[in-house]
């Protein structure tokens, strides 16, 4: 599955109109983890809502496997099942009496059979680590992290091809954060794609295949983590916190050490610095 945004612009009309997106060109496809980065107001959430047809492009078009959303060639309800959108703080959307019913809501609106629903609920709840004893409990009794996982399961139960998550780790403790990220890595296969929104580069960098940086409704950078992180200054300019290692690497480079620019994990940095000091690391230009 592939979703292509072509010259998409979007403006919120109100007493004071706010331009949220400006000529966005972006491709999202299965088999890839795409990291979307931008600080508050950069248009991230607006962009996400274009991916599953919650918002229709005012200008430009969204193509799903080549079919135009604007011209009505795509069934929006079906698109919403194929592209699972997990909003920020999804636990605030819980409403059912029991966790089972909560997770069954999506599959039910897809019109699946009872058996199929049961099977999907069981699978998605076990995927996020919720055992059977929870099924008949109220989602409102759970802890914050558990609620978040139930909300995630409620989207997974629709078995989307592309999973879109808006800050899925916001407000969680490090353990809860790791659980979610580990789960996502496990979930992704060649025929599943993930779009992950975060403002935390450090968290996202190690497992995104591609990173897109949004600023004031425009795509500023688009490339592999390596490429994106070599643009430290541009990232800082648009107000994005760069991983500390990247800062270290960059300031070493500016002092003439022969180190690769696109380094963003501590392990890579350690190795590169070690190499630079040992072998090819005569200080250049000094």
């Amino acid at each position: 599955m592939q979703i292509e945004l072509r010259d998409v612009s979007y403006t919120y009309n109100g007493p004071i109109p706010v331009a949220a997106l400006h000529n966005i060109n972006l491709k999202v496809k299965t088999g890839e983890i795409l990291g979307l980065i931008g600080h508050t107001g950069s248009g991230k959430s607006t962009l996400l809502q274009h991916l599953n047809g919650l918002l229709k492009p005012q200008d430009g078009d969204v193509l799903v496997d080549g079919k135009s959303v604007k011209r009505g060639e795509v069934s929006l309800p079906k698109l919403r099942f194929r592209v699972g959108l997990v909003f920020q703080y999804p636990e605030y959307q819980l409403f059912e009496e029991t966790i089972f019913k909560e997770v069954a809501f999506g599959p039910k609106s897809m019109g699946l059979s009872e058996d199929e629903i049961k099977q999907r609920v069981a699978k998605s709840l076990s995927d996020v680590g919720m055992s059977e004893e929870f099924y008949e409990r109220s989602p409102f009794e759970l802890s914050g992290g558990q609620k978040r996982r139930v909300a995630l399961a409620s989207i997974l139960a629709m078995e989307p091809e592309i999973l879109v998550l808006d800050e899925p780790t916001a407000g969680l403790d490090p353990k809860g954060r790791k659980e979610i990220l580990d789960f996502l890595l496990k979930w992704r296969t060649d025929d599943k794609g993930i779009v992950l929104v975060s403002h935390n580069m450090e968290e996202m960098a190690p497992f995104a295949d591609r990173i897109v940086v949004l600023h004031q409704g425009k795509v500023v950078l688009d490339g592999t983590p390596k490429e994106v992180f070599s643009h430290t200054q541009e990232l800082l300019d648009v107000g994005i916190k760069v991983p500390q290692v990247s800062m270290v690497v960059n300031s070493l480079r500016s002092r003439g050490y022969n180190i690769d620019a696109g380094i963003f994990t501590v392990e890579q940095a350690a190795e590169a610095i070690f190499d630079a000091l040992r072998g090819g690391g005569e200080r250049r230009g000094l």
Partner: protein
């Protein structure tokens, strides 16, 4: 899901009208409402309309926002005009079967229609140029004397302030939850009335839960900042009467009185 609600439609600006003390604007708005009910001639309404036009231009209020403020009341407006035109006794202008249109009817219909429009405009100009918070401040201040008879003025205005403050928040939240549920296949737009009401459950439950959570958070936040009612409470922005306010009141109120007296 655009929520086009005119409440809280304040557009910040820096005009003479914007900068007036909210109490001045409130007093004038109330005076205008009273005057509009006392005056019964087109000439009188002409002068009031002229005054409102001046205020509109000064506050650089766009024609669009004026139209938008009248739009929700189009139905009532038309109903008033039509009913009055059709059912007023008097000299017959035109007759078709049982439908009888009288001279007095047309006059009354148009007059009442104009009255409604001017009433809406008088309050709209105030709400467009004054933040809701400033209006509640003004209300609390003007109702101040009622404290003597143990009327809970401060509590009332605090409730009003909080309610106003949370309207946009709740709208935003409604929008968000609606979208989140639509992403799970919820359908808010089709089906008969009963089905639609049922479909609202996934929206209303989370909305109530979050409203209660917010109320709880707000109560704790207020208490932890030692809020204990209006007694001896000071404000960050004291309302202050300036020269412009005295001048405005001194000019506008007599003029309005004159309009009532003459027309």
């Amino acid at each position: 899901m655009a929520f086009d609600i005119t409440l809280g439609q304040y557009i910040p600006g820096d005009s003479f009208v914007h900068n007036l003390d909210p109490r001045t604007k409130l007093i004038i708005a109330i005076a205008l409402i009273v005057v509009l009910f006392l005056v019964n001639t087109f000439v009188g309404y002409f002068w009031i309309a002229l005054f409102l036009l001046l205020a509109t231009i000064n506050g650089s209020i766009s024609a669009r926002s004026v139209v938008r403020s009248i739009k929700p009341l189009t139905f009532i407006l038309l109903l008033t005009v039509i009913l009055n035109i059709l059912f007023t006794e008097g000299d017959i202008l035109f007759q078709l079967g049982f439908i009888r249109i009288t001279e007095q009817g047309v006059f009354r219909g148009l007059l009442l229609g104009l009255r409604l429009i001017l009433l809406i405009l008088s309050t709209t100009i105030m709400t467009l140029t004054t933040s809701p918070l400033a209006i509640t401040d003004a209300l609390e201040n003007l109702l101040g004397p009622l404290k003597k008879i143990k009327f809970p003025v401060h509590e009332l205005s605090m409730m009003l302030t909080i309610a106003l403050r949370f309207i946009p928040t709740l709208l935003e939240e409604t929008d968000k939850i609606m979208k989140a549920q639509m992403a799970r296949g919820a359908d808010f737009e089709s089906g008969n009335l009963l089905k639609r009401a049922q479909n609202m459950v996934p929206l209303l439950v989370p909305l109530f839960v979050s409203a209660f959570r917010r109320a709880d958070d707000l109560a704790v936040a207020m208490e932890s900042r030692c809020y204990r009612g209006g007694e001896g409470r000071t404000r960050l922005n004291e309302l202050k009467y300036g020269k412009a306010d005295y001048l405005t009141l001194a000019v506008v109120l007599p003029v309005l009185a004159l309009v009532v007296y003459l027309f």
